[in-house]
Symmetry: C3
Subunit: 142 residues, 3 copies
């Protein structure tokens, strides 16, 4: 598989809850991180998802927010992964940030250039990648 | 809290409906706007969400579409906020648009440069920010 | 209607399933493609959606991923539309890719510049547009 989604996490389904239309899938990665995905119940059946099944979680860089100070607030976003800024690349309007997690994984975020300035984002700074569960795609190997 | 999401609206939960996996939350802001968020039922419980609770609604600029002519169509997107273009910044591929709402709030949208040309977006033009409910994150203060 | 969403597909609702909060809508386009959208049940009622109703499906370019090799994997993303890269425009950080589908439709994707290099994206290459159902907006004409 070759896909433009900058973020790809291999793991195993550790929890699965289903509704009539939506389903929530929790993936535990090899690096010790957890990711929650909201997908359609149709995909759960098509992909044969179940607890224990190995999967890959994909997230587009533009769906990742970066938080440098999470004090005083709790977010509905199910995925908040804290690490250290490893790289920052800036364009005239957009910027790409790479956050290295303690378990070894790296997360790519596309944010605005203005946000990188306001948040003081630079290499070595502590930062949290914030990802809504609805932005996570699940892939299974054939 | 310091987060890269360009859009942050303080308000109070004015309606809340829950399903087995998903929940829909309506936030009434101080400026008189309403925003609808779709989040997981898990987050409703973790954050202790209920009608009347003060919250902040966060939206990434890349999740905001801009509509300059909404005549003849109704959209499934739950959030359509109309105001006036206050600023336009263009890069070679991307562009950032700031829309000022009547109640005083400002909305940042990241769209393609081509779209700004086709839509005739410039300062002073009337424009509507279109946001899917699934793109809205809810935050609560500790 | 003039909206910044780069992707607009006219079609007819071919399937509709509803839950207490979410609903899944399948649209069959004139070009023979199918798109699945996850929207709120509130929008189904507001828009009067039903099987057979003509609608337009809107997708922001930043919500489209590009896959150049889908071998060995199945994705939860409900929309995987395969065609040929018609155009590639690159900025310093972002890039825009246009994929032409066999039925005549074109899909715009905003991805990172790095991804276009890694995936070998250039004009004439086969590519699949991958879109989560939660990224699709439904519009109906008045």
């Amino acid at each position: 598989m070759k896909i433009s989604a900058r973020n790809s996490f291999e793991g195993t389904i550790s929890a699965l809850s289903s509704g009539p239309v939506s389903a929530e899938v929790e993936i535990s990665t090899a690096g010790g991180d957890k990711l929650v995905a909201t997908i359609t119940q149709g995909s759960v059946q098509t992909l044969g998802l179940a607890v224990g099944k190995p999967v890959v979680a994909l997230v587009k860089a533009s769906n990742v927010m970066v938080m440098t100070d999470g004090s005083g607030v709790k977010l509905s976003a199910r995925n908040c992964l804290t690490g250290t800024v490893k790289k920052l690349a800036q364009g005239p309007v957009s910027a790409e940030v790479i956050i290295a997690l303690p378990g070894g994984a790296e997360i790519f975020a596309s944010i605005t250039r203005d946000a990188t300035t306001e948040l003081g984002i630079k290499e070595g700074v502590a930062a949290t990648a914030v990802i809504k569960a609805s932005s996570v795609i699940i892939g299974v190997k054939n």
